[in-house]
């Protein structure tokens, strides 16, 4: 026991010694899934955050302090929790950004809230995250339910209109992977579609890791659905499309709600058959005329740096990592003048950026204490995109769109 204590003292002494040397730098934790199942988008999200840090540092840091990201690999909820504990206790960090996935954010933010720190969420969209009444939890991105609602809204505003039919003449089927993400998006889509007067055939959950979805596709066929809204994870999205083709199931429109549906790998797996599929999430390809000059310039610089650093165009997930982190450093930390969680919380709550003021078109205004969605950015919203000629273009809302929706109804599989 004595040896253990002595060991701990040495570790503590080394740790404080190290932090004393780096007094000039401000250290911020970055928790993302960097290995395992979620590694692709976790890394992408972090890469966006890294560009934000680089840009801030090159412009002289925050109040002369250089920003250093201390990364943690949150590949599973268990690891998210232990890494959050490590960053908070051993690395002595008060400010953590993350986490891309809602499940991981739940686990990690609990630890940080207990430590009294600030958790800055730039990716997880599950509504429940900001319904826990946490004082130190802030989410820059939109919620799952706003995404599901948008899917149902474009079914009416774009698809029903193009088909020249009333919602009551159209059948909507909602399919989703059964994790927190898929379920919350799908439930919101179901409620909104019902409210808009669509005939909602069913909401069908399935496991994202499944190796076969033929029974789901056959139920889709039996339901006679005109419009399908889908929240998927990865292989399930590819399986749905390929098995729809194999089983000859044609629909008038297919709406994916973000994630895989907005990634280049989705287009690669389907080639020309991807054209016409809708995708609701944020977008880095919005009409920049709707942005403030500063936000448009920031977006252009980010895209250029990202491509140079990582050799690919940033996806939405990378962009949300950038925007969230940039707002934290440039607007919140600068205003607070320190990394003290209390000062940061006050600075965050007083933030008031109008719509169009960030590179994703969002404004920033956090719901304050006592609000049922405390810590949620009330001015973040998803946009509707469509795959056209192998690329995603924004088709709604009008202010941000860069093209009109086409290919409604979708051609039959033999013509795609």
């Amino acid at each position: 026991m004595k040896q253990l204590l002595a060991g701990l003292l040495i570790v503590a002494a080394v740790a404080t010694g190290a932090s004393a040397q780096e007094e000039e730098d401000w250290r911020i934790g970055a928790l993302y899934p960097l290995t395992g199942n979620l590694a692709l988008l976790g890394n992408e999200n972090l890469n966006g955050a890294r560009i934000a840090v680089d840009m801030i540092n090159e412009k002289g840091g925050v109040d002369g302090h250089k920003i250093v990201l201390v990364t943690g690999d949150a590949s599973t909820p268990d690891k998210a929790q232990s890494e959050a504990e490590r960053l908070a206790s051993l690395e002595n960090l008060d400010v953590i950004t993350g986490t891309y996935s809602s499940g991981l954010s739940y686990a990690a933010s609990q630890v940080i809230e207990r430590h009294g720190g600030l958790y800055w969420e730039t990716g997880g969209i599950s509504d429940g995250l900001t319904q826990r009444g946490f004082k130190g939890y802030f989410r820059v991105v939109f919620t799952a339910s706003s995404n599901g609602q948008l899917a149902a809204t474009i079914a009416k505003e774009i698809i029903a209109r193009k088909l020249e039919k009333q919602p009551s003449e159209l059948t909507v089927l909602i399919v989703h992977e059964d994790s927190d993400y898929g379920t919350s998006v799908a439930k919101a889509a179901e409620a909104k579609a019902t409210e808009l007067g669509f005939n909602v055939a069913d909401r069908l959950p399935y496991k994202a890791t499944t190796t076969d979805l033929s029974s789901l596709i056959l139920r889709m066929k039996a339901s006679g659905a005109n419009i399908v809204i889908a929240s998927s994870y990865a292989n399930d999205a590819l399986l749905i499309q390929r098995q729809m083709k194999q089983l000859g199931v044609n629909v008038d429109a297919f709406i994916g709600t973000g994630g895989i549906y907005g990634l280049p790998s989705f287009a690669e797996g389907l080639r020309s058959a991807v054209n016409g599929i809708f995708d609701t999430e944020g977008s880095a390809a919005i009409n920049t005329a709707a942005l403030t000059d500063d936000a448009a310039a920031l977006l252009a610089e980010f895209k250029e740096r990202f491509e140079k650093a990582y050799g690919s165009v940033p996806s939405y997930v990378g962009t949300q990592g950038f925007v969230g982190t940039y707002v934290l450093l440039d607007r919140v930390a600068r205003k607070a003048g320190s990394l003290d969680p209390e000062a940061l919380k006050q600075a965050a709550l007083s933030l008031d950026i109008e719509e169009g003021g960030t590179p994703l078109g969002w404004g920033v205004k956090f719901a304050g204490e006592g609000d049922p969605m405390q810590g949620q950015n009330l001015r973040a919203f998803p946009v509707a995109q469509q795959w056209q000629h192998g690329k995603l273009v924004v088709v709604a809302p009008d202010k941000f769109k860069t093209a009109d929706a086409t290919l409604v109804p979708l051609p039959t599989w033999s013509e795609r």
Binding site: Y206, T211, D212, S215
Partner: protein, 295 residues
């Protein structure tokens, strides 16, 4: 509703074939070495990456790449057996689990480092093709997978029944000590069985490349059902793996359509428990096989 029944049965049989394909190597390794290879899914993943790159770089069809990738993975299997499996063959069961699980983690992260976490896919003419027979659509890629599973099982059963090595392997399965007393080189046969077992995984990987995305953790998703199939069919039984695969496949498709897509695994697993209550050794397993690790 009833008019869709033939389609459901056909779809169930086809996915059952895929399950069988995934399970055959696993059951062979278990039958001979009495080791549950938790890294089997990662060997499938390596083969998928192999087939992906051969197609991407030189346009080689994934089915043809079986003849390149299976031998490579076979040699990799021999090396793995020599370095990791052999030293732990008589170790406690928990240690064996950790060792093969460790291989799985190493291979996953190796793939992550080498090829990144991207979802990759290839598209061949038959990726989304299907044959229409009456009102029933038969997916071409699944049908080929099913036929390859049958051919692989046939070849393996033929090998075990008629070849000298195969007979020796069966003797080993029946009684390891008696087999070694009869002069059978058990160490060499262990290595052979592990190599052939992971080569079967390689065949499965090549067949699945046109159907699924290829990414570092794809093996986990694929192999879970295979464990169920192997136990259901009887540990160590190749024919059992085929029958087990078909039972799980058809049950899942029917319950997925008539009850709930979300519950299709649940109901297949309830059936699985029910069968094991009646036949603890699995459908075609020998009594006593299931007691591995108990002694």
């Amino acid at each position: 509703m009833i008019s869709i029944l033939p389609q459901l049965i056909v779809s169930g049989i086809l996915i059952g074939g895929i399950y069988a394909l995934l399970s055959i190597g696993l059951t062979l390794i278990f039958g001979v070495l009495r080791i549950v290879n938790f890294a089997q899914g990662e060997f499938i993943m390596l083969a998928m990456f192999g087939a992906f790159w051969l197609h991407q770089l030189w346009g080689i069809d994934p089915y043809l790449s079986i003849f390149i990738i299976a031998p490579v993975i076979f040699v990799l299997g021999l090396a793995t057996e020599r370095i990791v499996i052999k030293p732990i063959l008589h170790a406690p069961h928990a240690m064996q689990i950790f060792a093969t699980f460790g291989i799985s983690v190493i291979l996953q992260n190796l793939a992550l480092t080498l090829w990144g976490p991207d979802y990759r896919s290839i598209q061949t003419a038959y990726s989304t093709q299907s044959f229409i027979v009456g009102t029933v659509a038969i997916s071409a890629s699944s049908l080929y997978g099913f036929l390859i599973a049958l051919a692989m099982a046939g070849a393996l059963i033929g090998f075990l029944q008629f070849s000298r090595h195969g007979k020796a392997l069966r003797a080993l399965v029946q009684n390891r000590y008696a087999a070694s007393l009869m002069g059978i080189d058990t160490e060499r046969l262990n290595r052979l069985a592990f190599g052939v077992g992971v080569a079967c995984a390689a065949v499965a990987g090549c067949v699945l490349t046109p159907i699924y995305y290829t990414f570092p953790t794809v093996g986990i998703d694929l192999i879970i059902t295979a464990f169920v199939v192997v136990v259901l069919g009887g540990l160590g039984s190749v024919t059992g793996a085929i029958i087990g695969g078909l039972i799980i496949g058809i049950t899942q498709t029917l319950t997925g359509f008539f009850i709930s897509v979300e519950f299709k695994d649940l109901i297949a697993l309830i059936l699985f428990i029910a069968i094991l209550l009646i036949r603890p050794q699995g459908l075609l397993g020998r009594a006593g096989m299931e007691e591995v690790g108990m002694k």
